[in-house]
Symmetry: C2
């Protein structure tokens, strides 16, 4: 059986075709039935003259919207039909999977139920046009990310998500029974991508799940998300990482623009443009000064850090003065960074690190890593870590590990920012939070 | 600082360059020191005249092999040097990270320690040439897989690995405390890629970790591995899935051949060739007949199944008679398949399913899935499953889910087969087994 996609029907005028898709709407009139059928490529009207086949007319009348159908018929030109000026004259219809009636909600109805209910029926929610578009855009974006790295001679790795020891701090850590012992879920591939530097891979990237036992219920947190990670050797400082990062992201968005800009404009009312390179940079010290100038008050516990409001304010500032959506905040205090970030030799309270903001939201955290065994041990001790717990990691730095750095980047946060989505739960295929483990 | 890669040195004869890499070997002679330096792209000899700089000579004498170095010097032609007929006359050397002495083992020594010890020091083991090649080949292969699917309009998804209910059977399942409840690690993305079919995505693929609490210690099992999964809608039978699978795999190997065939030949002594399409197919019934003919005795508990020896025998048979490394075994008995495989309408004891063998090793399992809600429920009950536990999954089939099928494929098994590796522990970046959680 040869299927014709709806977008290609205009090449089959006056021919018999078979299409496959969902019953989008049904207008059941006195003598005629009009079925609007949807597949991934578009919509088409199918007309059925009831008296031609009364049994079939009965079947159609009983169909619930969103049923999965296979339809055979003749494509004819019909100027008065809005959907492409053509319709299919129904000859045969096979119900592949009838939708029960009523649906939990109408994905194409005028009023959408609240988010939590839509998440319960995520697959119906995903049938909405904007959601299909989102994952088409994401598919293009991740492929562009990899394409860029492959041109730069990166190696792709898949590191284990089950670990024998915590990867960073003990906070927000999931643990599990593992045969006769206890294992932990990776909070990032940090240690393993650095291991690739110790292995002489020089440049690696990874896409994979990241687990955080984070009890918060914000619009941007999840207990499991797709991390996009890279690490590169033989750098001089974090500036080398930032330079590659901005080119990488600009390339990625450029590819999305080429492929989806007009559809994004039509369906989301959003104008997409690749960002200019270089991205603006502001040091943490300057950022704190800027916040004072614009009157943003950081809570006292964020003395060495930023809070989400401050990030939004900084993002808005650079949007206003430079028209730029992306900003690097550099040189964070060691107090707010993990033990393995390298310190500035001339200012040991500061790290060679950065965050990347997109429209005021933290997308990535990066740094040059400390690769000198003794210095790294001292920094771990300063943070109060047990050297025993991280000994496997420390061992990576004993036998010739070059200077290196990299970043971790949240894919769904990027999709939120790129497509102006209000909540990460709308940006991810299936959301996981403290109280959401289904579907 | 501008780095020159070792492979590009011949374009810099008589120029001063800076290279970065590892001390591969050191010949410390009376008046001269010869350092062989390695980076990801090759080896080069660096010559140092000791009297030119006695301090530096001392530093070099103290260097352990595998130290990470930055070296500046002049590239000169030298016909007697085996490595490319050139060498670098040392001017400056910076020790980025000195290797402690002695190394746990010499990755480039003549005798390698046993596997388990090498896994303890995996990053040193990964410095070996064949391992670097392996992950370069894998990087090419996975990109080719995605490239193929993107040309066929697939969408990439990242499904959650933490689930509220077991994904398949309760066997070999890791569970973990999740806030106030219990969660499970995904044994496959099966349910979620089928959910994408219910969502109308039509064609999806995913690369992600798969977790199996499998206590076995064979050469082909791991408790965590990278699964390559796809699912496609509107198929007529499992034959549609197999046709796409064989083209996909042939394309993938073709890309590897184009990029790495000569290096694989040189370094592994292995001749790579893309397989012919179509792959041979044999039904399970025919396979059992064949095994009888060639005198292979299946253990009685494998009456509806195959064991690894049988798979090797079938693989060897097709290699002999057709010269083919890949074989589909089709139409497995329902007794040896999960509840969601679709039954043959004319032979309800058999499923519309297949395994793909590569050189006699199971690489993939695929099938057309049962998409009819009532039939699926009946099949689950027949397998003794609790409908309550799988209700979220069953719900996917209530509101218009088209016929569909797909496969799950083990990436490291494929690398084993492609590169003739004896053990999966040599084919994966970091191995996880019942007693191995480190590094």
């Amino acid at each position: 059986m040869k299927r014709t996609l709806i977008k290609d029907l205009d090449q089959h005028i006056d021919e018999q075709v078979t299409i496959q898709g969902w019953l989008h709407t049904l207008r059941d009139q006195k003598s005629m039935q009009f079925l609007i059928i949807r597949d991934r490529t578009g919509l088409v009207q199918v007309a059925h003259y009831k008296k031609g086949n009364l049994d079939l007319a009965k079947t159609i009348s009983d169909l619930g919207t969103e049923s999965a159908l296979r339809i055979t018929g003749k494509v004819v030109k019909n100027e008065i039909v809005k959907l492409g000026g053509l319709e299919i004259q129904l000859e045969d219809l096979l119900v592949e999977n009838a939708a029960q009636v009523p649906l939990p909600f109408e994905p194409f109805g005028e009023y959408l139920p609240e988010q939590d209910f839509r998440l319960d029926w995520r697959y119906l929610d995903l049938r909405r046009e904007v959601n299909q578009l989102l994952f088409e855009v994401q598919t293009t974006a991740v492929q562009a990310m990899r394409e860029f790295w492959l041109q730069e001679n990166f190696i792709e790795i898949n590191s284990p998500k089950i670990m024998g020891a915590p990867s960073e701090s003990g906070a927000e850590l999931f643990s599990l029974p593992y045969f006769d012992t206890t294992a932990y879920l990776a909070q990032s591939p940090q240690f393993y991508k650095q291991m690739a530097m110790a292995a002489g891979f020089e440049r690696v990237f990874e896409f994979g799940p990241v687990f955080r036992a984070d009890p918060s219920f914000t619009s941007r947190h999840m207990t499991e998300f797709t991390g996009v990670d890279m690490e590169m050797s033989w750098i001089d400082s974090h500036e080398d990482v930032m330079r590659l990062t901005e080119r990488w992201l600009a390339h990625t968005i450029q590819r999305v623009v080429e492929k989806h800009a007009s559809e994004v404009e039509t369906k989301l009312g959003l104008h997409l443009e690749a960002p200019m390179v270089p991205f603006p940079r502001i040091s943490m010290a300057e950022a704190h000064k800027l916040l004072k100038e614009i009157g943003y008050k950081l809570p006292p516990e964020k003395k060495f850090d930023l809070d989400p409001g401050a990030e939004r304010a900084i993002g808005a500032h650079f949007k206003e003065i430079q028209g730029h959506d992306y900003v690097f905040i550099t040189d964070w205090p060691f107090a707010s960074r993990p033990f393995y970030h390298m310190l500035h030799p001339e200012e040991p309270g500061l790290t060679r690190s950065f965050d990347l903001l997109g429209k005021g939201l933290e997308l990535a955290t990066g740094a040059q890593r400390e690769h000198r065994y003794d210095v790294l041990k001292a920094q771990a001790l300063e943070k109060g870590l047990s050297l025993e717990v991280i000994q496997d990691y420390l061992n990576y730095f004993r036998y010739g590990t070059p200077p290196h750095g990299g970043f971790g980047f949240g894919l769904s946060r990027f999709m939120m920012v790129l497509l102006d989505l209000p909540n990460i739960r709308e940006a991810v295929y299936i959301f996981r939070g403290p109280t959401r483990l289904t579907p």
